[in-house]
């Protein structure tokens, strides 16, 4: 310290301090300035995403859902359906609709995930609605399969069948099979209630309950068929039909062979 105390009045100290102050101010300014473009970019990015989503929407969806997503006689209003509904409907290929009918079918998605995200951002910008579930929402690995089974059998199995194979509703509508659905789609379907399906909001079945249901469905998707051909896992009806058609046809062929006179 003595070294500094002796030299503090040296003319070079003033210059050094000035230099230090200038560097400090410069660095501080640079930090502030460099932070601002990042924020601005994020805002701009979202606006861009919404803008691009709007363009995709106008080109692909507005003929049925209306120019302002207000809905027409051909399609429902999308105001307030939320990003999750867009991600589910377009991500499973149900929208854009292949053909008018009782129900939209699962198909290969017609848009890339980036485009779906853009349209989801546009629809979410119109009015608040269910958000796309986060990775944390979807971390179902620790969930309770048995609890999921109880909730699935109580609320889901009567339409989707106890093994998740789907089933008939009224007037040509049906509950689809869940064997293709991934965790995100199952979560979004519960959250938004697509088509005839009722909404299972986080108020009625919370995130933990939804994760348990996803775990149960995943367990059914992954389970093998130890007994042989699953026949849609529909149980005795499908098995009886198989016996009365395929097996009986084979038996009739054998009976015909027995009856043919040997040459």
């Amino acid at each position: 310290m003595k070294f500094l105390a002796v030299r503090r009045r040296s003319p070079i100290v003033g210059v050094a301090l000035l230099l230090l102050a200038l560097i400090g101010i410069g660095a501080g300014y640079a930090a502030v300035v460099s932070a601002r473009p990042a924020e601005a970019a994020a805002v701009n990015g979202l606006q861009n995403q919404v803008q691009q989503g709007k363009e995709l929407y106008l080109a692909g969806c507005s003929s049925c859902h209306g120019l302002q997503a207000q809905g027409t006689s051909q399609g429902p209003s999308l105001i307030g359906v939320g990003a999750a509904a867009v991600d589910f409907q377009v991500g499973t290929g149900r929208m854009p609709l292949a053909a008018p009918g009782a129900q939209a079918m699962r198909r290969t998605p017609q848009y890339t995930q980036d485009q779906i995200d853009q349209m989801a951002a546009y629809i979410a910008s119109l009015a608040p609605g269910p958000q796309i579930p986060t990775a944390q929402d979807l971390s179902y690995q620790g969930a309770d399969t048995a609890e999921g089974g109880v909730l699935f059998r109580t609320n889901c199995s009567q339409c989707h069948q106890a093994a998740g194979q789907g089933g008939a509703l009224t007037y040509g509508k049906y509950a689809p099979s869940l064997m293709q659905a991934n965790a995100r789609q199952i979560y979004e379907a519960m959250l938004t209630g697509p088509q005839s399906m009722p909404v299972f909001s986080n108020g009625t079945l919370n995130t933990k309950d939804k994760q348990a249901i996803i775990k149960y469905i995943t367990a059914m998707q992954q389970s093998s068929n130890p007994g042989g051909l699953s026949l849609g896992r529909l149980g005795p009806v499908a098995e009886g039909l198989f016996l009365w058609t395929a097996v009986f046809a084979a038996l009739i062929l054998v009976a015909i062979w027995i009856g043919i006179k040997a040459r």
Binding site: N155, G167, L169, T170, G203, S224
Partner: protein, 346 residues
């Protein structure tokens, strides 16, 4: 009658002559060509040998293949290796025994057409007399016509015999002495004024804000778990199960009572009024509740009215409201008995 005669010796030219007698016998290839006969012999032997090998394979598979092994087979998908092998070897082996026996019979066993005449449809007169004699002898020897008292009491006893079987049906439902009768028990559920509505499975109480428009959830009264623990059966659940749905208040056409909804939230019994199946196939856009058993369809926006199917009564509605803390509660028990009709029901 009934004797079998080789067709070659059978000469009958009268009315109704059998066409088979007119068809000239055609020898088989195995009858004329010794090489073909040897070939057929080899075929049959081969099938029997294959069956032997399959049965040995069955035993080997039974011992060697772990029953939990899963293999992928195209078309079939992921299947149990053990089940598949056991079924294939035993089934194919049994089929081959049958196929070999038929091939043997068709190709190598004697090939002679035979004619077997049908016996007459009517039984011979002697049999008729025998039956009549037996009946008359029984009638006179037993004295059925003679002992009037015996005859009448016998008829009375036989007529009353099925009655006890009908009476015991009444006690299929055994109620402890002093408890109300089945009709009373069936007519009342756990729901009463102030019973909180909780989600079936998680038993979380519900607030009105938890249920969005278009939402549905299966629910039960909050005290159901305690009652189930005490009784050890599912009777209370079978009667108290409900579905809670929410629709925009202006979509509600009618209800079973004034203001039985709470801001568009409606509660209905989950038990079909036709055959008692629990139903929750709710189509949120049409507000229809569909029973998977016999396709009875109820319109929940129109007081649970039956719009299709065999159900004869509308789905009973549970009047609901909220308590001081804002949780959904029942206003009262169901006004009518839930579930299928029964005798004492008005």
């Amino acid at each position: 009658m009934n004797e079998i005669t080789p067709a070659a010796e059978h000469h009958y030219d009268g009315p109704g002559a059998l066409p088979v007698a007119d068809v000239p016998h055609k020898a088989r290839l195995t009858d004329t060509d010794p090489q073909a006969a040897r070939r057929a012999e080899r075929q049959v032997t081969f099938m029997f040998i294959l069956a032997i090998l399959l049965f040995i394979a069955f035993i080997v598979a039974y011992i060697a293949v772990d029953k939990n092994t899963v293999v992928y087979i195209p078309v079939f998908g992921e299947v149990g290796a053990s089940t598949m092998l056991l079924g294939l070897t035993l089934g194919l082996g049994a089929f081959l025994i049958g196929a070999a026996a038929i091939q043997w019979a068709k190709k190598l066993m004697p090939d002679v057409e035979v004619v077997q005449e049908r016996h007459e449809m009517a039984s011979p007169e002697s049999a008729d007399h025998e039956a009549l004699d037996a009946y008359t002898r029984g009638k006179t020897e037993s004295g059925f016509a003679q002992y009037k008292m015996i005859r009448r009491t016998l008829i009375g006893a036989m007529a009353l015999f099925p009655i006890p079987l009908v009476v015991i049906l009444r006690d299929l439902w055994v109620t402890p002495p002093g408890s109300p009768g089945p009709a009373t028990i069936l007519s009342h559920t756990l729901w009463r004024k102030g019973s909180r509505i909780v989600v079936d499975g998680t038993y979380q109480p519900l607030k009105a804000s938890d249920l969005p428009v278009g939402g549905m959830i299966s629910a039960v009264p909050a005290d159901l778990p305690a009652v189930e623990d005490a009784t050890g059966n599912l009777d209370a659940r079978g009667k108290a199960a409900i579905v809670v749905v929410r629709m925009a208040p202006n979509e509600i056409v009618s209800q079973q009572g004034t203001n039985w909804d709470y801001q568009g939230i409606l509660a209905f019994s989950k038990i079909c009024t036709h055959a008692g199946c629990p139903i929750s196939l709710y189509e949120q856009r049409t507000h229809h509740l569909l029973c998977p058993c016999h396709q009875s369809t109820f319109d929940l926006a129109d007081g649970g009215a039956v719009v299709f199917g065999p159900a004869a009564r509308p789905m009973p509605q549970l009047p609901i409201g909220v308590d001081a803390e804002g949780y959904l509660v029942a206003q009262a028990d169901f006004a009518v008995p839930i579930g299928p009709s029964f005798w004492e029901r008005g």
